[in-house]
């Protein structure tokens, strides 16, 4: 139980300090901080560090007012500039787009050349009828035994009156 409380306290410590806990949870954590010496120490350390972070981090990268004004001037200029027209043929003539278009064309040509090969179209590239291969002839003349010569017969009966499908004749009749 104590371990659970300890863990609960640790997990909610940050929110307790920032005042983001519900009233019930806040009361629970506060009571435990008062009871447990370790938690109290941890709370003091945490609070001190959080306060320092809260006060020192906003000072990091504080902008220069003059620089911000310059940025606004250039932003304002961009906002007032007419909207750029959509991509059209003339855009593909720019050096960057030329490289891209060239790459696309090359890719298309490669696919067009390789596609028939990939989908098995190569068989139609050989329209000549090749002679058929000779059939293999068995030269085995050894007489076969009677059992081996006996044809295999699988007989089936007519579907029974219940329409359950065929029943093999050599299977025992179902109990009716």
């Amino acid at each position: 139980m104590i371990r659970f409380k300890h863990r609960y306290c640790k997990v909610h410590m940050a929110r307790y300090i920032s005042g983001d806990l519900s009233i019930a949870a806040r009361r629970r954590v506060g009571r435990y901080i008062d009871e447990c010496e370790d938690c109290h120490r941890e709370y003091m350390r945490h609070r001190e560090f959080a306060l320092k972070l809260e006060r020192s981090l906003p000072t990091l990268g504080r902008p220069n007012r003059q620089r911000l004004d310059q940025l606004w001037t250039s932003l304002e200029r961009e906002l007032q500039a007419p909207a750029r027209q959509s991509m059209w043929l003339s855009d593909f003539a720019s050096p960057q787009s030329m490289q891209f278009s060239y790459g696309l064309v090359m890719l298309g040509i490669s696919i067009a050349l390789l596609l028939p090969m990939l989908i098995g179209f190569h068989s139609s590239l050989l329209p000549v009828d090749l002679p058929r291969l000779p059939q293999s002839i068995s030269l085995d003349t050894t007489p076969q035994t009677q059992a081996e010569n006996r044809p295999l017969i699988f007989a089936t009966a007519e579907p029974n009156w219940r329409g359950r499908g065929p029943i093999l004749q050599n299977t025992p009749a179902p109990d009716l």
Partner: protein
């Protein structure tokens, strides 16, 4: 507090309406309100002035061009702007992979000391800033975002979750983890550095 917030929302809605009607002063007012905060956010995430400025401009440009799409019923303008900036910062991490830090800044070539600041104080401030920057850079991008939004921007967990696009519980645990890691990495030099930074500012 709620009245103040409602009043502030109404005020911002009015500025947005003015801007959408074509009043350039409306845009300027929005920039004045959020520009500095947004720059600090970008700088704290990227630790590079040039990148922070670029992202600030890109974010505002995008936001102003799409201002008609902003729905004040869904989020506050601040959260919306911060979401745009954070997503652009994420693209920059991905593109750069390894964040670069301004060498000129590190070498003190461009030390922006206040005019009245003594050289010693400037050195202390620079050391403190450098240690904190390094500790922040050591955090993973998500933890850094959570810490910067929480402590640098003073956002609530709900706002952090909206900006980061994650559940509130995740935002809370990221702040907690980031806090722990930051404490560990700043421990060797002690919280005294933070104190120094506070003292000189």
């Amino acid at each position: 507090m709620n009245d103040y917030r409602r009043q502030s929302h109404a005020e911002i809605d009015a500025i947005i309406a003015r801007a959408l009607a074509g009043d350039q002063a409306g845009y300027a007012e929005l920039y004045d309100r959020y520009g500095a905060g947004l720059y600090r956010l970008c700088y704290s995430l990227l630790m590079n002035e040039q990148d922070a400025e670029d992202i600030l401009q890109e974010s505002f440009l995008y936001a102003f061009k799409n201002l008609q799409r902003f729905d004040s019923g869904k989020a506050s303008l601040k959260t919306w702007l911060y979401t745009i900036a954070v997503s652009r910062c994420r693209n920059t991490y991905r593109r750069k992979r390894f964040l670069t830090v301004d060498i000129s800044q590190r070498l003190g070539l461009e030390l922006k000391a206040p005019p009245a600041e003594a050289p010693e104080a400037a050195i202390i401030r620079r050391d403190a800033e450098e240690s904190i920057s390094r500790a922040l850079l050591d955090l993973s991008p998500r933890l850094r975002e959570a810490i910067v939004l929480r402590y640098g921007q003073g956002m609530t967990y709900r706002e952090i979750s909206e900006v980061m696009g994650c559940p509130q519980k995740t935002a809370e645990s990221r702040v907690r983890l980031g806090h722990q890691r930051l404490k560990q990495s700043l421990q060797p030099v002690g919280a005294g550095l933070l104190e120094e930074l506070l003292r000189v500012h």
